[in-house]
């Protein structure tokens, strides 16, 4: 595996509608690491992802994306029209360079092979997130970019998805950059946390970040107290994925 960084963002400034959204934000992602962006609503997390993905041009600063970078992207929301008749299989085949023979294995990888023929509209929140993840994996990416991967998923399903992400990183060796505003579950499955509130407040491994005064100011001491409990408790949950982890 190449050892140069997968993505480097330098000194990103961005204003939207004359309001500063990002100020001097920096980020380097190395192969195989899991990085989580965390921060309150309106902190610019999704916008920063869009800058990294090249969907949004920053006012200042640069994003370096080497030629061998292949991004699998899982968007935050998928506004699906009821009028669009499409099955999970067909949706996955729309992915760039997807082959028929790749579909079932990748669905099995995310624990959703039973959904192969299901119409996209009938999926629950958790099932949908898995299918979106499968679509991102179909490109065989070296960087997965996930915008709130557990949105609309119940707590049990969230634990399952984070475990799945950890496993994907182990088997595929791809790096993961994700956005979350859920503190609890993220902490156990990430190498590095970046607290973003228009600028980078603090950054580091989960333990050091939770002790950082900036972080405590942002989320409150009480919220952080619960974190330790959560990251232990998570180990005792049984891994199972049934057909409907309904949101």
């Amino acid at each position: 595996m190449s050892q140069h960084p997968l993505v480097t963002a330098r000194n990103i400034d961005l204003k939207l509608q004359h309001k500063p959204v990002l100020q001097g934000v920096e980020l380097t992602i190395h192969p195989g690491e899991i990085v989580t962006l965390i921060g309150p609503n309106g902190a610019g997390k999704t916008t920063f992802l869009r800058v990294i993905l090249g969907l949004q041009k920053p006012d200042r600063g640069e994003v370096v994306r080497p030629a061998d970078l292949c991004v699998g992207y899982m968007p935050q929301r998928m506004p699906l029209d009821m009028a669009f008749p499409i099955s999970v299989k067909r949706f996955l085949l729309l992915a760039d360079k997807a082959h028929q023979r790749d579909i079932l294995p990748v669905l099995a990888e995310v624990g959703a092979e039973a959904l192969f023929e299901a119409p996209l509209q009938t999926l629950s929140g958790g099932e949908f997130q898995r299918v979106l993840l499968a679509r991102a994996l179909l490109r065989d990416p070296n960087l997965l970019v996930l915008d709130e991967p557990v949105q609309g998923v119940d707590v049990h399903g969230q634990v399952e998805i984070f475990k799945l992400l950890t496993r994907i990183r182990e088997t595929r060796g791809c790096a993961i950059l994700m956005v979350s505003h859920d503190l609890h579950l993220v902490m156990a499955s990430t190498d590095r946390v970046i607290c973003l509130n228009r600028h980078i407040c603090c950054t580091g491994n989960p333990e050091s970040v939770t002790r950082n005064p900036e972080f405590l100011k942002m989320f409150g001491a009480a919220a952080v107290q619960n974190l330790a409990i959560y990251s232990h408790d998570q180990e005792h949950r049984h891994e199972q994925c049934h057909h409907g982890d309904h949101s």
């Binding site: 869009r50 993905l53 090249g54 969907l55 991004v71 992207y73 968007p75 998928m78 699906l80 029209d81 009028a83 669009f84 008749p85 499409i86 099955s87 067909r90 949706f91 729309l94 992915a95 760039d96 119409p119 679509r135 490109r139 970019v145």
Partner: protein, 260 residues
């Protein structure tokens, strides 16, 4: 069977077959009002055609392309809500067309025919336009089918996966402008959108893939044309509105069929 009736039937079915797949995209991409805007701008196209002494269909296509381009640019700048931008372009171009036509006193033309269509006056050259032009549009649509579906489902996801979103969108808008010019002949500019969306809405219920919905919409549209034409001969009603009513009737009937 009378010659003009046969021409109407063939031309109408040709238009319906082309309108089906495009209408499906109109429904999926929530572009019903966009179709309306293109149709209304046709009045300006007709006025320009008379002014410049060019083929009227050509005038309609040219103005439609300009309107589509203007919309594309307005939507990218996002200064105005999409439906507001559409409303402005739609009614400004319709009004400008009417005012320009009023100035040209020496021109006699059938306003009602343009508003509600004159399918019984379809000529041989119209049929060539419909099958040649419509067929070419359909071919291009098939060429861009997969990226268009990807964009329709999620624009940013498609862009990250390497789809040239801007280009595909522009091609689609241009094709829409061409199709609307063809459809004008059949149902008139007031009713164009109905031939896009009503058959597609009927087809949705029976379709499990995007392709089957597009084909079914074409078939339902053809049935509507045939039924509407028959009714208009039988009861001497205006043909365009009869076709629209026939497609509405089919939609209502389809609601009686139990969902699979």
């Amino acid at each position: 069977m009378d010659d003009f009736f046969l021409r109407a039937l063939v031309g109408g079915i040709g238009v319906a077959l082309v309108a089906g797949p495009f209408g499906s995209f109109v429904v999926w991409r929530r572009m019903a009002y966009f179709g309306d805007t293109l149709a209304h701008s046709a009045m300006l196209g007709i006025a320009c055609g008379f002014l410049l002494h060019i083929n009227l269909t050509l005038g309609v296509v040219a103005v439609g392309l300009l309107i589509a381009l203007a919309l594309h640019l307005m939507q990218r700048r996002r200064k105005l809500p999409g439906d507001t931008a559409l409303g402005i372009l739609s009614h400004a171009s319709l009004s400008l067309g009417m005012v320009l036509l009023a100035f040209m006193e020496d021109i006699r033309f059938d306003l009602v025919g343009y508003l509600f269509g004159d399918i019984l006056a379809i000529s041989r050259s119209d049929i060539i336009w419909i099958f040649g032009g419509g067929g070419a549009c359909l071919g291009l649509l098939m060429l861009f089918w997969r990226p268009l579906l990807a964009i329709t489902l999620h624009e940013d996801l498609a862009r990250v996966e390497g789809v040239a979103v801007e280009r595909v969108q522009l091609v689609f808008l241009a094709l829409m402008a061409l199709i609307v010019a063809l459809m004008m002949k059949i149902v008139g500019l007031v009713l164009v959108t109905s031939l896009f969306i009503i058959p597609a809405a009927t087809a949705r219920k029976f379709a499990r893939t995007p392709e089957s919905m597009a084909c079914a919409a074409g078939l339902v549209g053809s049935l509507s044309v045939a039924g509407g034409l028959w009714a208009s001969m039988r009861w001497d009603t205006p043909a365009g509105p009869s076709i629209v009513l026939c497609s509405t009737l089919l939609l209502l009937l389809s609601t009686l069929v139990p969902q699979r």
